[in-house]
């Protein structure tokens, strides 16, 4: 739920509660004010009546506001009491219902005679009052709701724009493509602060990334030269006539290790280069031709291992990809399929316009399939394999947004690449 909708809902919820409470208070206070006014009126009328009774001998005609009633009845001598104000309902013929009245009952002496005088004043019906209060509250709520809605819309368009702008830009941010985020300037200090923090963070990230990248590149690059020297010296050393078997074994073991180190280094260098997108893309690389070429190169090995190849290659698969990476991709996939195959096994290659599937017979994996594409993950811990082959495949696929999947069923490993 968007922040604005959430705050909007809170506002509406709270306003509803406030409106109900306000309505109740409103109702009672209006009622109180009306009651006081009615009482005051009744006493005013009482004063009027007493004045008239004292001025005139007889009971005069009284003119009261419409709806009010006056009742003067003789009372017994001893029938005296205090003024009483009470609420009663009196049946009204014309409206055929009970109507609420406020009554003032008092006693007055006129020429030695005592009268019981009752003034009744018609009250506003309380239902009318409630409905008036509720409806006015409802209108208020509606107005509040609508204005909140409008304000929300307006705010989301105006006020939060820099925020959503920033989020959009962060979503698109790719560190490898680097550089500035170019966040929109805003006069809202919170957003300005957010932007400046993000800017500082991405700047730091980028400079760290660049220096790390440079370091990896340089390190790998610089290691190659001493390795080349070591290897060449060993090659010269092993040509000497008077080296015995024991010494040759030592040389061999150094030679082997330096070879391994050099391969490892080249693999890592390649991974870095792919990640840095240092390979130029060519148009319409013929994948079918690449596969055929690689199969030809591995032909003898496939034959020696007795592996049978099943090909289902669409001849019209042209990708926009670096030719070198296409080469490496295919040769790594085939290399794996051959290496982890069984004697007299098979390899199936399917090339369609939207995918490439390389599957081979083989024993089940000992490691988790998820870690298959990780660097240095090897199925058997023999130090012979570098464990970089499939991570290079993954990196190449990531580079071109190809999906890559691994499956194992019926003793068959399958790697599927979706173009």
């Amino acid at each position: 739920m968007r922040l604005l909708n959430k705050t909007g809902l809170y506002y509406i919820g709270i306003s509803a509660v406030v409106c109900v409470i306000a309505g109740v208070i409103f109702y009672f206070s209006i009622q109180k004010i009306i009651n006081e006014a009615v009482e005051e009126n009744l006493y005013n009328e009482k004063a009027n009546i007493i004045k008239q009774l004292k001025t005139f001998d007889s009971i005069p005609r009284f003119y009261l506001p419409s709806g009010d009633k006056l009742e003067i009845i003789p009372a017994g001598k001893n029938e005296k009491g205090k003024d009483v104000i009470r609420n009663v309902t009196i049946y009204d013929k014309s409206e055929d219902e009970d109507l609420p009245y406020a009554q003032l009952v008092f006693y007055s002496d006129v020429k030695g005679k005592t009268y019981k005088i009752t003034i009744s004043q018609l009250l506003l019906e309380s239902e009318d009052l409630i409905s008036t209060v509720v409806s006015s509250m409802f209108i208020l709520m509606l107005a509040l709701f609508l204005s909140l809605l409008l304000i929300n819309l307006w705010i989301s368009k105006k006020l939060w724009k820099p925020f959503y702008d920033t989020i959009d830009k962060l979503k698109m941010y790719q560190i490898a493509e680097g550089g500035k985020l170019n966040l929109t300037a805003t006069n809202i200090s919170e957003f300005e602060e957010l932007n400046s923090v993000i800017n500082r963070m991405t700047d730091k990230m980028y400079s760290d990334y660049v220096s790390l990248k440079k370091f990896t590149e340089n390190a790998a690059h610089e290691i190659q030269t001493p390795l080349a020297i070591i290897k060449s010296k060993l090659e010269i050393l092993m040509q000497h006539e008077n080296i015995d078997g024991e010494q040759m074994k030592l040389i061999h073991s150094i030679y082997e290790s330096s070879n391994r180190l050099s391969k490892l280094n080249q693999g890592l260098l390649l991974l870095t280069k792919i990640k840095n997108r240092q390979f130029a893309i060519a148009n319409n690389v013929d994948m079918n031709a690449v596969i055929e070429k690689k199969l030809e190169n591995f032909e003898d090995i496939i034959k020696i291992k007795g592996i049978s190849i099943i090909k289902n290659l669409n001849e019209n698969v042209k990708l926009n990809i670096s030719p070198l990476l296409a080469d490496i991709l295919i040769s790594n996939l085939l290399n794996n399929a051959i290496k982890y195959n069984v004697d007299n096994g098979k390899i199936e290659i399917i090339l369609k316009t939207d995918r490439l599937v390389v599957s081979n017979s083989g024993l089940p994996l000992k490691i988790k399939p998820d870690s298959l594409f990780e660097r240095f993950s090897k199925d058997n811990d023999s130090s012979e394999s570098l464990g970089l082959g499939l991570s290079i495949v993954k990196e190449i696929c990531d580079n071109y947004n190809f999906g890559v999947n691994y499956n194992y069923s019926n003793n068959t490993h399958e790697i599927e690449i979706k173009f």
Partner: protein, 225 residues
């Protein structure tokens, strides 16, 4: 046969020179661009081995200068930059071959031989080792004047062996020579063995000698003694 090595890494340059001298070449070396450029300009070499990144300039310029002289000098680029662009532009301006560091000296030697053979002995480019004769143009091999039929890899292997005759050739360098760097070299040793076995058999069948000697598990030596 004169060869110029333009390489700024002294020790690597020494190794190359020392290895090639043993092959009977006359070798000179230059450590930077001015020296390399000057030597390439003044003398005639059969082959120039040149690094791309040099102090004082680019190896590419030396290649351009050599090509400008219209010489038939063979040119091999050795570079630490394993980049396709470098390779393509190097070959475009007239280099004959490209090797990435670190490389096997036996591989460099084989490439030098192949280039000199192509450049110098036009019309007569046979490789002869005792009773074995190879005609590289047709990729044919004769033992005692009788043709033997080899597979592509067996042929490559034989040429590689003879180019590095009397030398210890490591299994790693053979693997890379035959399959490029696409294969995990360790896995390929069995396959090398199979190829060598077949090659031996085919040569011996036609009355040839068994020249391939195993050297302490490190590799092989193709030698008549």
């Amino acid at each position: 046969m004169k060869i110029l090595v333009v390489e700024d890494e002294k020790e690597l340059s020494n190794s190359i020179v020392s290895y090639l001298k043993q092959e009977g070449y006359v070798c000179e070396s230059a450590m930077d661009y001015p020296a390399g450029s000057e030597k390439a300009d003044v003398y005639n070499y059969d082959c120039v081995i040149v690094d791309i990144t040099l102090p004082g300039g680019s190896g590419m310029d030396i290649i351009r200068e050599l090509k400008g002289k219209n010489s038939d000098t063979g040119i091999i680029i050795i570079s630490a930059k394993n980049s396709l662009d470098d390779k393509i532009s190097g070959l475009d301006i007239g280099a004959d071959d490209y090797l990435t560091k670190p490389f096997h000296l036996s591989e460099l030697n084989a490439r030098v031989k192949s280039i000199i053979r192509r450049k110098k002995f036009e019309g007569n480019r046979e490789i002869i080792f005792n009773e074995i004769k190879i005609t590289p143009d047709e990729m044919k091999v004769f033992v005692n004047k009788k043709e033997i039929i080899l597979t592509k890899k067996e042929y490559d292997l034989l040429v590689y062996f003879i180019s590095n005759k009397n030398r210890v050739v490591t299994k790693e360098s053979i693997a890379e020579h035959l399959w490029g760097d696409e294969i995990d070299t360790v896995d390929s040793f069995d396959f090398i063995y199979t190829h060598i076995k077949n090659l031996r058999k085919k040569i011996i069948e036609k009355g040839g000698e068994d020249y391939v000697k195993t050297v302490y598990g490190i590799g092989y030596k193709f030698a008549s003694i």
